[in-house]
């Protein structure tokens, strides 16, 4: 499988706080990488850097070999960098279905407004079908016409995942997809992530649920204080007393 994302010596600091300190990370198509570490390690900041929500102080980010470091966030998403957010960030004024319809990856060169152009009936219908299919994957079709604010946090997480899936690009970044999710949905999400990886996408998951990472990820990356401390399997990391101490404190 080919390399989808490569970050090289990525650095970012906010005043005295270093959130990325020379990060070298590679995401390969078809693989799922689990990003773990204690709160404040810089995991979400790394997602923000790759997706363009924040701009790196130095270093570079390559998407399929092309530099994207200087591109604005919306441009990176159009090129295929899709993400979910730690706190969902669904649009509260729009229904669940509308949230997904808006997440259809805009065509390159798009419309003047940068929004989805006024598409024809066939295109609208196929986008709607795609949206319902993504909701079906996370068992949320019944909520299609409800507002996100009417749903529990866990259900919002599922919708958030479905929205991220609407962008069919090569890179999928999932920020704590399991937070608040229990029961049958847990297995659904695992199946969804596995299927997406099997289709050739490079997936990176930030997650505190270690058993989820263990079940799902081909590789784990341990971060602490803005740096990658170790890369390997989750079993190796769980057995390491040093990493356990860094994760849980002394």
């Amino acid at each position: 499988m080919s390399e989808v994302i490569r970050t090289q010596a990525l650095c970012k600091r906010f005043g005295g706080v270093v959130v990325a300190d020379g990060i070298d990370l590679t995401l390969i198509g078809g693989q799922v990488v689990g990003l773990i570490g204690p709160n404040g390690a810089g995991k979400t900041s790394l997602f923000n850097l790759i997706s363009g929500a924040i701009k790196a102080d130095s270093g570079s980010i390559l998407l399929n070999g092309a530099a994207i470091s200087n591109l604005p966030m919306h441009h990176r998403a159009r090129l295929g960098v899709s993400r979910s957010w730690q706190h969902n960030r669904l649009f509260p004024s729009l229904t669940v279905l509308d949230n997904l319809l808006l997440a259809q990856r805009p065509r390159q060169g798009g419309s003047l407004l940068g929004a989805n152009p006024r598409s024809d009936a066939h295109e609208k219908s196929s986008t709607r079908e795609r949206a319902m299919a993504q909701l079906e994957k996370v068992r949320m079709t019944a909520a299609a016409h409800r507002l996100p604010t009417d749903l529990s946090y866990g259900k919002q997480k599922l919708v958030s995942l479905a929205r991220a899936l609407m962008n069919d690009g090569d890179c999928l970044l999932l920020d704590e997809p399991m937070a608040g999710v229990e029961g049958p949905a847990y297995d659904s999400i695992k199946t969804v992530v596995r299927d997406e990886a099997a289709s050739g996408r490079a997936i990176c998951v930030v997650e505190h649920n270690i058993s989820f990472i263990k079940d799902l990820c081909d590789q784990a990356v341990f971060m602490f204080a803005g740096r990658i401390i170790q890369t390997g399997t989750i079993d190796e990391m769980v057995r390491s007393p040093e990493l356990t101490e860094l994760y849980f404190g002394a």
Partner: protein, 302 residues
């Protein structure tokens, strides 16, 4: 009857102003108080070009509208790239600065204003007034329909999402700056359109007619009628145009009517913001939610 005609013309012009302001602050969520200056640019631009070149009035109005649109892009482009907050600050400076230039320039007639503006309808009398009522009425309706078209369907969904959460919106591949720019430029262009109609009806304009406080009047129309509703600003314009006339009927001294009008405008905004923030024609947030039975296949709430 001429009084009624004149009132209707003012209602039509303020309907365009309030509708365009609603597009900017309501639908776009862009806080700007420079709307009166775009109104002024339309009025002065159209008046000056028709005076100087003899251009037909409709083309002059188009020129004034274009001038207001271009000026709004010049204001918004640097402000919107950084953060919406900068637009508020920049708009204050833009409004005050440009009005000072108009007040202190010879070409604009200075503080005394501009007179002898060519009329759109050369004849005088009731027929001319009612013709102008029809023109302004069609213009107001067209403005409302333009805004309705813009805020419906795919674009409407995008505008709502951008207002809800700009960063998440960008994360889905949408260019928020371009969208905000389009909203701001369209709203400001419509204000310029209203300015052109205003100048060619009253046939004189002065800087006092475009002071920053008129933003408050426009805001009152939007809030009272219904922010983020298509027809609300028009209703607000009707009510807010009738209110000063109603005060005049009380035959109070002019030293009282001026401040009383200001107090009533401010009071109305406060009352509506506290008691009915969605205005007369708006719906309370969340009413669109369709209540359905929980799907048993969904994960249980935590």
């Amino acid at each position: 009857m001429e009084f009624v005609g004149s009132m209707l013309i003012q209602i039509g012009i303020f309907t365009i102003l309030a509708t365009s302001f609603n597009l900017i602050i309501g639908y776009g969520g862009l806080m700007s108080i420079a709307h009166p200056i775009f109104f002024a640019l339309g009025a002065y631009g159209s008046a000056l070009i028709t005076q100087a070149t003899g251009l037909p009035v409709p083309l002059g109005i188009l020129f004034g509208m274009t001038l207001a649109t271009l000026a709004s892009v010049a204001l918004a482009l640097p402000s919107l790239r950084v953060s919406g907050d900068y637009l508020v600050i920049a708009s204050i400076g833009f409004q005050l600065g440009l009005l000072q230039i108009i007040k202190n320039s010879d070409w604009s007639g200075g503080p005394g204003g501009l007179t002898n503006i060519p009329p759109m309808i050369a004849t005088v009398g009731p027929a001319a007034i009612w013709s102008y009522v029809a023109i302004v009425g069609i213009a107001a309706l067209a403005s409302i329909l333009v805004v309705r078209w813009l805020v419906s369907g795919d674009y409407g969904r995008a505008i709502t999402a951008m207002r809800d959460d700009e960063e998440a919106f960008k994360g889905l591949g949408h260019d928020a700056v371009s969208l905000k720019l389009v909203l701001f430029a369209t709203g400001s262009g419509l204000a310029g359109f209203a300015g052109g109609l205003y100048g060619h009806y009253f046939l004189f304009v002065t800087p006092e007619q475009f002071e920053i406080l008129y933003s408050a009047a426009m805001l009152t129309m939007v809030v009272v009628g219904g922010i983020r509703t298509v027809w609300g600003p028009a209703l607000g314009a009707v009510l807010l145009q009738f209110m000063p006339q109603a005060i005049n009927f009380l035959k109070l001294p002019s030293s009282v009517t001026g401040p009383l009008q200001g107090i009533l405008f401010t009071g109305l905004v406060l009352v509506f913001l506290f008691l009915r923030p969605h205005g007369l024609l708006g719906h309370a947030p969340g009413v669109r939610a369709v209540v359905q039975e929980d799907d048993p296949t969904e994960a249980p709430a935590k």
